[in-house]
């Protein structure tokens, strides 16, 4: 039973990590690429870390919760770095895809 839960969590995590990188590779301009890693990769790594926490909690004596710390850290830092990268990209005027909707004036 435990093995099944772990296997499913790991597979979900790996899937989302892959989706994030596919987004990074395939989408056509920087601002769109930003979406893949900030959301999908973060959730993917989060799922893998939680699987690791469950695994070590059951394998060794006592609970192993420090993986939660890395998950928390990633969930806090990923949006911050995305925000800064987007700001930098706007600052140096990175090209956008032509169909990008512009701001209403």
């Amino acid at each position: 039973m435990l093995e099944w839960i772990l296997a499913i969590l790991i597979l979900i995590g790996a899937f989302f990590t892959l989706v994030g990188s596919i987004g990074l590779y395939k989408l056509s301009d920087f601002y769109m690429r930003l979406h893949g890693p900030t959301k999908a990769s973060t959730l993917g790594v989060g799922a893998i870390l939680i699987a690791s926490a469950i695994h070590f909690s059951f394998k060794t004596e006592g609970v192993s919760l420090h993986e939660i710390l890395v998950t928390l850290f990633l969930f806090i830092t990923a949006p911050v770095s995305a925000h800064l990268m987007a700001k930098a990209a706007i600052h140096i005027k990175v090209k956008q895809v032509e169909r990008t909707r512009q701001l209403e004036k």
Partner: protein, 89 residues
């Protein structure tokens, strides 16, 4: 069961690292490369944790924590560099 899932996941995360590496090489401009580096370190954390589960060792966690801290700092420093032209104020 777990071993099979682990093997599949290794392949998937490895592919993810390859894709972000391609993006790192083809660019086309600096923010893209920063983003690719950011994704690369997040993916490498995933790979390390999977390796830790596979080898039944909790040691790899420390490395993952360090990569997370240093990677975030690196992304911040590079973005700040683009924004201001220098890193430290």
């Amino acid at each position: 069961m777990l071993n099979l899932a682990l093997s599949i996941s290794f392949v998937m995360v490895g592919l993810a690292i390859l894709l972000s590496f391609i993006r790192l090489i083809i660019g086309p401009n600096t923010p893209d490369r920063i983003l690719a580096l950011d994704t690369l370190y997040i993916n490498s954390i995933a790979l390390l944790i999977l390796l830790g589960i596979n080898l039944q060792s909790a040691l790899y966690f420390e490395a993952a924590l360090l990569i997370a801290l240093m990677g975030f700092m690196g992304t911040l420093a590079l973005s700040k560099y683009l924004l201001r032209g220098d890193i430290m104020e």
